[in-house]
Every structure is written in structure tokens, then in C-alpha cells.
Amino acid sequence: MKYGIAEILEARGGAKRDSLIPILQEIQESEGFLSQEAVSEVGSRLGIPTSKIYGVATFYNQFRFEPKGKYHIQVCRGTACHVLGSATVLDKLEKILRAKAGQTTRDGLFSIEVVACIGACGLAPVVNINGNFYAKVTEQSLTEIIENLKNKEA
């Protein structure tokens, strides 16, 4: 199957509109993001207009609409990180990568996600790239981290 969406919907045969969010979650789990095809497919199965599904999905932070990059960067925007300057970190990251939170760079290498507290307040401000935690990130260290990853791919 193209996206595995068919199986997910099949497993929930007879699902109604109240199962929308769990279905979207499962699709995101298996595909990494919600594609237009996926949303259309879900819409036609559940009888919900795609504009409504998109409305619901954008209401929640957890859904993304672009595939994840090879390096998925989570920037913590919890209270402790915020106090120690995570806003400038995020801003810098968006500038370096020329992609906004929720987006993926054109080369498909990096994607940015903003998360609330990831429970590592002692390391604030903290950034998580593919499961690796980077502590006490500054604008400068962030630039180095990204450069290193880029060099690794070059």
C-alpha cells in the first residue's frame, strides 16, 4: 500500500468522525507526517471535508504536514528553556536552516519541531536531534552543531 493508510483505516472499519484524531495520530506515527493524500483518504472514509480535518490537525501542535528531515530537531520551548533564551535559539535555527518550525528544509536534511517541556530543565536551553540531547545551547554552539551535521552529509 502506498502509505499504509488503507490498513490503518481498514483496521478501524466502521469508524466515525469521533475517531478522527486517533486515526490521524496513527497515520503520523507510521508515515511521519500527514500528507494531502492521507487527509483526503481519511476525509472520504469518515465523510469529513478535508478543510475540517486540516482545521482540527492544525489546532494541535503534534501534527505535521511535511515529512520529517533526516535530522529532526526538537527545540524545547518550556518555561526553563524560555527563561534561558530558547526563543533566540529557535530564531537562529530558523534563520540558519531557512525553514520555519513545522517545516522541513528543501534538501530534506533538517526539520524543526517546537515542543513544550521535554523534562530536561537542568540542561536548558535544550535541543534534541534524533534522540541526542544538546545541552545549554547558544546561538554559536547551535551553528556549530548544524555545521557538523551538514559536513557529515557533504
Binding site: Q36, S44, P49, T50, S51, Y54, T58, Y60
Partner: protein, 574 residues
Amino acid sequence: MEMNIEINNRQLKATRGETILDVLTRNGIKVPTLCHMKDYFPSGACRMCVVEHENSGKLVTSCSYPVEEGMRIKTHTSRVVEARKMIVELLLSNHPDDCLYCVRNGNCQLQDLSVEHHVTERRISGLKNNFSKDLSSPSITRDPDKCILCGRCVRVCEEVMGVSAIDYINRGSKTLIGTSFNKGLNTSSCVNCGQCIMVCPTGALSEKGHLNEIQMALTDPSKKVVVQYAPAISVSLAEEFGMQPGTDVNGLMNAALRKIGFDFVFDTSFSADLTIMEESAELIDRVANGGTLPLITSCCPAWVKYAEEFAVDFLPNVSSCKSPQQMLGAVIKTYFAEKINTKPEDIYSVSVMPCTAKKFEAQREDMTHHGITDVDAVMTTRELAQLIRLYGVDMYNINPELTDSPLGIRSSAGKLFGGSGGVMEAALRTAYFKLTGEELKEFKINAVRGLTGRKETKLQIGDLEVGVAVVSGLQNAKVLLDEIRNGRNDIHFIEIMACPGGCIAGGGQHIGADQKAILSRLSSLYDIDDRDSIKVSHKNPEVIELYDKFLGEPLGHKSHALLHTEYEKREVPL
């Protein structure tokens, strides 16, 4: 169940199930509303209509709060008035301050509320919205910066049209109204009906204007500028100039259009007659030769796009006739061009329509002939009023004139196209004559008249009992089509108009008209039908002449090339 409630120290009667607002309206007490839409399920989102509920001491939204026995309400205490003013101030805090440049300047509910609540200084300054405009649609322009998120467009699109092209996107201060995946309206399921514009309280939604192009053409000496206007325009334009709703200003409009500089003025009702000739021939052909039935009208471009997206299984049912606008456009650039010895490319063909979807229709790929567009620019009733003002024509001080020949005479059947049921009535009059050789004894077919969203009747034509249905509002069409999908087979002919009530309530009409005004427009059409001497399309002398001299016969070779079209499925996210 009757109950007693107290409003502003007055004892009033109320019925269980009513909202406070219902009681207030009935008793002539005015509270401001914004997101409220009459006859829709209340949403209570904007909180403009709050009143003080003395029993609980709370402010409650009168539009959504049901009446209770013994409730005590105050509608204009200082607390209430202050709360309402604050709401307006908050709405203004992130609103662009460019009223003077706004298409809705002078006809904006946010402006009105600001004046009503005496907002004279900026107490709250918020971050201004900074979304991008959506100019992608050929019919509708969206400016989310001006949107106050009342949700009326979302509801009309879902509940009346059954399209749901738009919904709320994101959350909190980032919320905006948009299509799925926030793409341009042109690639969405939007059918361009423009009903969202009609309910928008601000300038967030407006038609895509064609006035600049039209003015350019009017000043270009090498162009012959021809204009046609839809049947509904003459009974709707008056309101734009403060006249009584329903006033028929046909003659004044002809004169105004000539004063503006249009070289020839034609009436689309003429080609409505032409449509009837073609469409009734198609109906008879389908009935006689076992073609796909029921036949469904194709005059409404919003319905046609809807069918191409949501009702693909019914595309074979949709009449292949172009709409009257496109038929007249095609005839102007062929038959009429020959007649005035002008090359079709030197004719600039403008139409005045009560509709935004007509702008979309005019640029459909198949609406051309040898690479020349049938209709070059489409303006709405509102744009025509603007143009009349711009050229300094005084509608109160002008003498009525007639349309030009040879595409100006109409039957009153063609005129009826302006209201829901009109196409059906006109088609039945002609079909009856074609099948039986006699005219109907009573031309008026009351069962298909009026503003009701769905009308059905049966008519005996010879030995054939013809079942007909008329629906307006695409949600009503959806219900009817579902019935047919489920096996209903007693209907032969269906008229579908996207806008509730037909073109007289179209998306290009005067903004702010109430149901009463729309009814006046409809009655005005019926009055014209009562008065006119030519009541059937097949007796329109200019239509007869057009067939004799140019087209040949309905469904003939030339008709097929010029007056008919095709439809295909559109791949859009539904």
C-alpha cells in the same frame, strides 16, 4: 410551553426553546450581533450580544441562551455596554487601519459597531495581523488580515452550500480562515458562489474586481465594448442607489450603461430564451430517445463546478447547454460581429451578473471559440453600481432607454431566470408547446415559484407525466441527488441554483439585503411576467430570427459548436 420572563423590568411572554435574542427581537429591543445568523444554529462565538442575567449575575450570550421561567435580563446596563465596547476595541486592536482603502468602507459591520459603541480612541493596540492575501481565485479575493473570525463564511459554506471549502486553521492568535492545507482558493473545492462574501461583516472577502480592465476597454478606441446584463440585475440594482427593494430599473440601467460608454447594450434574458430553446430540445430528445434522465440545468456555474467535484456521477445528467451568459457571449462574437462588420477580436464583451461564479465561468477553457473568449470581463451588481457612480451618472435623473437590437428583446420567461424556479417554468412553457403543439392554458406554474429551497411538482404534457424538481442552496441539491442515487426515478427534469432563492440572492448582489428585499426582487420578476406580452421563449422574435438566419435549429451543428459545452471531473481536495 409559555413562560414569563422579565426584560429591562418589563414582563414578557416567551416560549420554551426560544433564545433570549428571539424574545428581544420580537419586542423591538435591539442588541448588537456579529457572528449570529438568523435561522442558523447559534454559535455564541463573538459575544457581541451579551446581556446581563440577573439571576446568576453573569453576562450571557443572548443569541444562544435559552429562555427560562422567571429569568431576569437587563440588556443595556453599564456593565453590558462596557463589555460590548471592549469586544469591539479588541477586534479593532489587530485590524488593519485602512478603512479608506477598503472595498467595504461605508458598508462594514465592524465600522458600524465601532460607531454605535462610540469607540473614539485606541485604548488597546495589538500586534497587527500579517497574513498574505489570497488572490488566486478568479472569483473571490480573501484578505485574512481583515477577518474577525466570526465564522459566518465557514457556516454558510458548510450548511447552505454543503461545500466546506474553508474552515478555521491553527489556534489562538494565529487562527485564520483558509482552505485545506491553506492553499489558494482556486485549487480548493470552492464553487465560487460568493455567499461567503454576502455574510462577511468586513472586507475580508470580496469579489475579484474587473473594473480596471473594463475601464481600459471603454477608453480604447479600437474596441467595440458590448455589455449584457443578467435577468436579476434590473430588479436588484435599485437598492444600491437607495431605492425601494424590487424596483425594476431596466430602462434606467440601459441609459446608464450607454452614458458610461458601452457601445451596445444587450439583455442576457434574450439568451435565457435561447437556452430554453436548446435545453427544452435536449429534454425532449432525452425523453424520446432514452437519454440520461433526469436532465439537470447548467445555467448556474457554481452548481456546475459542484457537480464536477462532488457529483461526478451526475455529470451525464447535466445539460450540455452553456449558460445564458456564455451563449450570448458566443453569439455576440460571431453572429453580431458579422452583423456590425467587426472582427470578433475587436469586440470587448462585458457582462453584468449577480454572481461571482460567472467570473470563473467566463475563463473556463471551453468557453472560447477559435481561441477567442466568449465573455471578456464580468462585473457583479455591486461593481456596476460602482461604475455608475464613478462615471457620475445620476440614476434619479435619467430617462429610461431600450436595449439594442438584434440581441435585446426577451420574453418574460427568460426574465424569470433571475429567481429560483424560473428556468423550470420557462422550460416547461416551451417544452409543453413543442410536445403538444399548444400553449399552456395557465403559464404560471405556482408550484415552482417562491423562495423555498426545494420545490417539486408533476405536470401532464400530452400522455407524459413529467416530474420536476427545483432546488436552490447546494445542500438541498445534495439531499435530492442522494434520493436519486437511492433509486428515486419519478423526476425527469431538475433545476439547481447554488444560491438560496436563485440569482436574485446571488453572491454579487447588494450586501445587506434582508429576506424581505429578496422577496421583493422575486415579486418584481413575477410582476414583469404578468405584464409582458411575450411570455414564452419560443415566441421571442429575435430568437426566431437568430435560428432562421444563423443557427439553423436547436441542437443543430452550429448550436452544438457555439452554445454547448462539456464537463469533466475536477481533482480537488474535497
